[in-house]
């Protein structure tokens, strides 16, 4: 199983950033177009990604202003990453004038990480779309 790690520094306090991970109204500002969040262990995580794909799982760990872990997968029948099959951890670390946010997506199938070249052209095309402010979302699900 493989993992994907992304980090970003945000000039905002951890308690401000944390609300964007657990409050559905704030979550839709960055991670989904619709979200159903019940941020407590065992609570629902549902996020409409890319306009037409529901990412689904449940919250596993909540440490206020520090860390959120939820399980994650796609609701489409037959999808190779079914709901709950992977985990996403978002850790917040107070860092001077802001917060370092580290997102780790674990449990992805090796193939999803191993052979990056097959998706490279597609990835660049998607980046171009995103950069123009268009939503490159629904194109990619097997």
């Amino acid at each position: 199983m493989a993992e994907l790690v992304r980090e970003v520094f945000i000039e905002a306090a951890p308690e401000v950033v944390f609300q964007y991970l657990v409050d559905p109204e704030r979550y839709v500002a960055w991670g989904a177009s619709e979200a159903v969040l019940d941020p407590r262990p065992g609570g629902t995580y549902r996020a409409l990604m890319g306009g037409s794909h529901w990412g689904e799982g449940e919250f596993l760990e909540i440490e206020p202003d520090r860390r959120v872990v939820f399980s994650f997968g796609w609701a489409e029948p037959g999808h190779p990453i079914p709901p709950g099959s992977t985990t996403v951890e978002i850790a917040l670390e107070a860092d001077g004038v802001g917060t370092t946010v580290r997102l780790t997506h674990r449990g992805l199938p090796e193939d999803a990480v191993g052979d990056h070249t097959g998706g490279w052209d597609h990835y660049l095309a998607r980046l171009a779309l995103a950069a123009r402010g268009e939503d490159p979302g629904p194109d990619l699900m097997p």
Binding site: R6, V8, A12, G31, R126, L140
Partner: protein, 115 residues
């Protein structure tokens, strides 16, 4: 991509896709495991899945073997890469805007107190 969406709209094709996800199988074996479906129907489903590039075919002597095209997984990885990268950038912009609004409000409160 329309072809892929149409291909997975049919439940038996989704079942076939699951069967050949981690192992390569001949059509006869797929027909056995899916059940309730004729060999010709299985062949048709496989043709649709191949047309949508979700399944690839390999010849081994007289046999034809089928497996899921894991290139799709590479594209899925690319999707997640892009999705989380773009998402965190949106998170940064939104949280920083909220922090600035909070800071402004606090400053106004202080100047009210002292002014």
């Amino acid at each position: 991509m329309d072809a892929a969406l149409k291909a997975i709209a049919e439940p038996r094709r989704r079942e076939i896709l699951r069967l050949v996800w981690s192992e390569e199988l001949p059509a006869t074996e797929i027909a056995l495991r899916v059940g309730q479906v004729s060999r010709p129907a299985i062949s048709q489903h496989l043709a649709v899945l191949r047309g949508a590039r979700l399944v690839v075919e390999r010849r081994d002597g007289t046999r034809r073997l089928y497996r899921a095209d894991h290139g799709e997984m590479a594209r899925l990885r690319a999707f997640l890469d892009g999705f989380w990268t773009d998402g965190l950038e949106r998170l940064r912009l939104a949280a920083e805007a909220e922090q600035r609004a909070l800071d402004d409000r606090n400053r106004d409160d202080r100047s009210d107190t002292h002014g």
